[in-house]
């Protein structure tokens, strides 16, 4: 699925293709040069993250909550209850500002919770900032490799 020189740095899980396109556009514009993998639902995300031949874990997961089949909360639960994967920073990016979603996410150990702004400028700005913060500014454990 991937090669060593094609390491996924940002996993972008988003079922809405328009939001995905706008998000990828924003991540690209922030010129991080990070490799972004976009997956369309929770099932794909779990298949990718828990597949046998994955060697490097992503540096950041951007996760939508409301998705078909397996929703974002469930993906978050699986990631945060796995000893090897719980160290991956997960940022929930959703349209929901419902208190229950926010509380549930934080209880499961989310690293940040972002409500997608309707305004495109703000949306672009937020995604760029998240990308640059988690990829360039933030330090993650070095042993992000699956042993």
């Amino acid at each position: 699925m991937e090669t060593d020189d094609n390491i996924v740095e940002i996993l972008f899980v988003e079922d809405n293709m328009n939001d995905a396109e706008m998000g990828i556009r924003a991540l690209k514009k922030s010129a991080l040069g990070a490799h972004v993998l976009h997956l369309q639902d929770g099932e794909e995300a779990i298949q990718f993250l828990f597949s046998a031949d994955i060697k490097n874990l992503p540096k950041l997961i951007l996760l939508d909550l409301k998705m078909p089949k397996i929703d974002g909360i469930e993906v978050l639960r699986r990631i945060k209850s796995d000893p090897a994967r719980k160290v991956i920073p997960v940022v929930v990016m959703t349209s929901s500002r419902e208190e229950c979603d926010i509380v549930d996410s934080y209880k499961l150990g989310v690293n940040a919770y972002i409500v997608k702004p309707v305004d495109f400028d703000k949306f672009t700005k937020v995604i760029s900032e998240i990308g640059s913060f988690w990829i360039s500014v933030n330090q993650t454990p070095l042993h992000n490799k699956i042993k």
């Binding site: 349209s95 419902e98 309707v118 495109f120």
Partner: protein, 473 residues
């Protein structure tokens, strides 16, 4: 006192009183009869002695007289006797005791009771010639002896009667007390164990039987009513539960609705906005001036709709949110809001005065929204005035504190004031003053939930004052 004892007491007292009274009556009647008999007997005796004494007196024979008098020995109750001659001198004497008696002077003929004795005089005649006087003194011991004997008999009779009465009453009072006691026992069970299913056993057709029937009937009624109340309560509980379930369901639906509104409506809106903007940014060279204007309209409309959705969600959330009250200092609280809002109004000259507001117990997050709304309204609608004057203050009334925000802005016609607090109600064109028409509806909802009131006073082109009250306890 137990009813048993009371009944027996009544019977015994009645019996005793009747017996005593009867005995007393008998005693008195006997006493009177005895005295009369004694008097008559003494008179007869006197007559006989007097008749016998005529010869002795006529012939002046004291020996004969003494003999006649000594015959009185046979009459044990005669203690003294004396025969006087026609001149009143003692002629002959008779006495039983040793002490020398004092004989009275001759009195009138006849008998009377003197102390404990019956005394009397009897004239002695012979052929209508007065010869002398006979004196007789009889003691009453016999009578007293008899009275004592009668008294003893009466007492014994009373004791035996009372004993009989006691035994009889003890047996017979049960016919009255037993059903009453049984009734009392059942009543005790009912009151102590709250068991309304027990019934008293009816004994006889008398008043107690009637009472037992009434008591049992009462128990049946209570039992029936209890069943009714219980079933009514159950029905009530059931319907409350049903209503609660309905409410919960509706609430859940509402929540699901607002969730999907917040999520599902925002996503396409973001696309509308985003793609229009991407069109402007990435394909600007292919758009003419009108094309740019149209994409701008699309972008602005999408933004406005986003704001509308957010406001509407706030509004619906406000109805469900729990009020969490705390005591806050309204002065510093409002000053914070004013400072924050004034940051966006740097270019304008605004004179804003905040009077003393005091301390109050409210939900700070909710009340903050009210102040933000009212103050930003004042700033917004006074935008077209040159000298803006905004005044914020409070007055304490019995039971409530009234706050006000007064501006000298655009104002409005009070004919439309009733519309102001409805959702999406606006009194100005979007092109004049922007807004979604949710803010005041939200404020009203918040104040309602604080059990306060909100109202407005305005004059077109002169300004508006908003008031709201908070109960102060």
């Amino acid at each position: 006192m137990e009813i048993r004892k009371k009944l027996m007491m009544v019977i015994l007292l009645t019996c005793g009183a009747v017996l005593l009274l009867t005995s007393l009556t008998f005693a008195i009647s006997e006493f009177i009869t005895f005295r009369q008999t004694a008097k008559r007997q003494l008179a007869t005796l006197g007559e006989v002695i007097a008749a016998n004494s005529t010869a002795a007196l006529a012939f002046d024979s004291k020996e004969d007289a003494a003999e006649i008098l000594s015959a009185l020995k046979a009459e044990k109750h005669i203690v003294e006797a004396c025969l006087y001659d026609e001149n009143g001198n003692v002629f002959s004497l008779y006495q039983t005791g040793s002490a020398s008696p004092v004989f009275p002077a001759i009195g009138a003929e006849g008998y009377l009771f003197e102390d404990a004795h019956l005394v009397g005089f009897q004239k002695v005649f012979q052929d209508e010639k007065y010869l002398g006087m006979l004196y007789l003194k009889s003691d009453m011991n016999a009578m007293y002896d008899q009275l004592v004997v009668h008294g003893v008999i009466a007492s014994l009779a009373i004791i035996v009667s009372l004993l009989m009465a006691y035994l009889l009453s003890k047996k017979m009072q049960q016919s009255i007390s037993k059903p009453i006691l049984a009734l009392a026992e059942v009543a005790k069970i009912v009151s102590q164990q709250k068991d309304y299913s027990v019934r008293a056993t009816k004994v006889g057709q008398d008043e107690i039987g009637l009472l037992t029937d009434a008591f049992n009937q009462m128990l049946t009624q209570i039992q029936e009513q209890n069943i009714e109340i219980t079933s009514f309560n159950q029905k009530l509980e059931q319907s409350v539960q049903e209503r609660t379930n309905d409410l919960n369901r509706v609430n859940k639906e509402l929540e699901a609705f607002s969730y999907s509104v917040s999520h599902d409506l925002r996503a396409p809106l973001r696309s509308v906005n985003g793609y229009a903007q991407m069109l402007q940014e990435d394909h600007a060279d292919k758009l003419d001036k009108d094309g740019l204007r149209i994409t701008n309209v699309i972008i602005e409309s999408a933004k406005r709709m986003g704001k509308l959705i957010d406001d509407l969600l706030d509004f619906s959330r406000m109805g469900r949110q729990e009020i969490v009250k705390s005591t806050i200092n309204m002065d510093t609280f409002v000053k914070g809001v004013v400072d924050e809002l004034m940051e966006g109004e740097q270019e304008r000259h605004i004179n804003i005065v905040v009077h003393r507001l005091g301390v109050v117990s409210v939900d700070p997050n909710m009340i903050r929204q009210v102040w933000v709304n009212l103050i930003s309204n004042a700033l917004k609608y006074s935008r077209k005035k040159e000298n803006v004057y905004i005044e914020i203050g409070s007055t304490v009334q019995p039971g409530e504190i009234i706050y006000f925000v007064k501006d000298n802005g655009a104002g409005f016609n009070m004919d439309y004031a009733h519309k102001l607090f409805g959702v999406f109600q606006r009194l100005h064109k979007e092109s004049e003053f922007e807004g979604t028409g949710v803010g005041l509806a939200l404020s009203k909802r918040i104040i309602d939930r604080h059990r306060g009131r909100i109202w407005v006073d305005s004059k077109l082109n002169e300004g508006t004052t908003f008031f709201f009250s908070i109960p102060n306890q």
